[in-house]
Amino acid sequence: MSHLILLPILLPMLTALLIMLPPVHHSPDRRRWLSMASTLLLLVMSVWLLSQTLTDGVTFYALGNWQPPFGIILLADTVSVLMVCLTSFLALGAICYGSAGEDERGSFFHPLFQFQLMGINGAFLTGDLFNLFVFFEVLLIASYALLIHGGGKNKTKAAVHYVVLNLAGSAVFLFALAILYGTLGTLNIADMAQKISAVPAEDIMLVKAGGLLLLIVFALKAAILPLQFWLPATYASASPPVAALFAVMTKIGVYALLRVYTTIFGEHAGPLAGMASAWLWPLGLATIVLGAIGVLASLDFRKLVANLVLVSVGSLVCLVAIGNTAANSAVLFYTLHSTLVTAALFLVADMIALQRGKAADRLVSARRVAQPVLLGSVFMVAAVSVAGLPPLSGFVGKLMILQAVDSGPAQIGLWSVILVSSLLVLIGLSRAGSTLFWRVSGQPANEDKAKPLQVFAVCWLLSASVALVAFAGPITALTQQGAVQLADIPATLSIILPAAGATP
């Protein structure tokens, strides 16, 4: 059994502890370099883990060598490892941006950032539902503290809402877990998948209630329509590297939806199969519409980007509701694209805001930015990508989404909503871009230039958008393989629970 699966969780934790020790803690430079080096190492390790997973197929790591279904396992399949790779790629960009000076505006930025990475990686890798709850809490408590990094009224206000909502969400999560444990007698996701088909008839409604309570929790994390009100204020007020890292947090909710509702409540679940789709489909569509209206209505650029996150979440949720292999493959590709590009947009928004003086990122006329060519081009690339115009990755992603539904009323619904919302996003972004760069007042530009590390961070994240197009063939093959593996539950079960037989 390879210990490699554990490293994406252990490495950030050890780094965080190391950063808090005196020789490192007292020197800002050492903190930065250690944090950046460790994140780079994390990226290398996740890519290594991905290549291992591609050659070996699904593998798992039994913590303390307690074999499943009794012990807690970490599960490495293509989907989870791909998400870990995405997180570490994103984290490297965010930490580089943070190291350009934002980290010194409050204490403990780097340790908290690493703890959050630990939580995120753990949530992706775990194969146990209660362990998922624990890693959710690890990443949440780090995110609470990161959200108020730097201080200020807006951040405190957003943090109160965010913390209270997430604590209520945790309570609902625990209710759901207790119901599922009481009826299925296990919390190992693979074992639950196996036992779900043998649920006695009188317990079906209880299991359904538990499953739908889980839906509420994941909808809250992913910010799906009735539970999305926290997102714009939270993301818009967080400090830029934190907002960039938060871009992956909604995707954890989507990932959990994907995992739970395909593995546990998948086609083999008898009367419980596909119970979430009926909710996810209309709510996903409504989230896209609401996000697109929000993009048009935003008065400052960061709120606009936060609403773009909503649009991407809505698209992903619709795909999860469809649930076929093409849709799951599109979910993976679009997650890679939308996470990295919205994160880059949060960073670009901050670079623009820093150079516009008092107006910051509000969409009003102000002094011109000091580096119009640089900021204009990164804005242009990010906007083209996020709006889904060719030639960048958003176009490929949207194409995959549209191809995932090929007939019937679902096609009419999804195609019209996605295409109209893309148009609205395009209008919103053009309006924002022309206001930010062209509606300038006569004041001279100030001399604050973007720092090289900030420019590197943005280019690093945007290079992913180019790479996703340049290597679209291999990457879609990878996401396709992930989707096939995710749907092939008997094969996964036969690896995790060989003794029990593979009859879900």
Partner: protein, 118 residues
Amino acid sequence: METLFACCIGFLTACGVFLMLRGRTFPVVVGLTMLSYAVNLFIFASGRLNLRGAVVLGTSDNYADPLPQALVLTAIVIGFAMTAFLVILAIRARADLGSDHVDGKLPGQKHAKREPRQ
């Protein structure tokens, strides 16, 4: 016993939800605490209510399910930490925003002055 236990959880949940919907941060914190008590009891019940169940194998025919107890312990620890954080955050919000309302101002109160942008 089941009825009493269920009523107890239901009552705690109802109180918790009611308090959580209040406008000021202190009742919200108390409400969340009550909700987490209800959750802890509920998890405990998921292993079935079982009197005088043995914990050591081979000593009895009637065993208690050990897993919910482990889950409850984890949930208590996490809930405790989160509540502590929320209390500190609520105090800071009172200091930063000048009001203990969850929105930072009483409903109907106008923005006194626009906050300077950072």
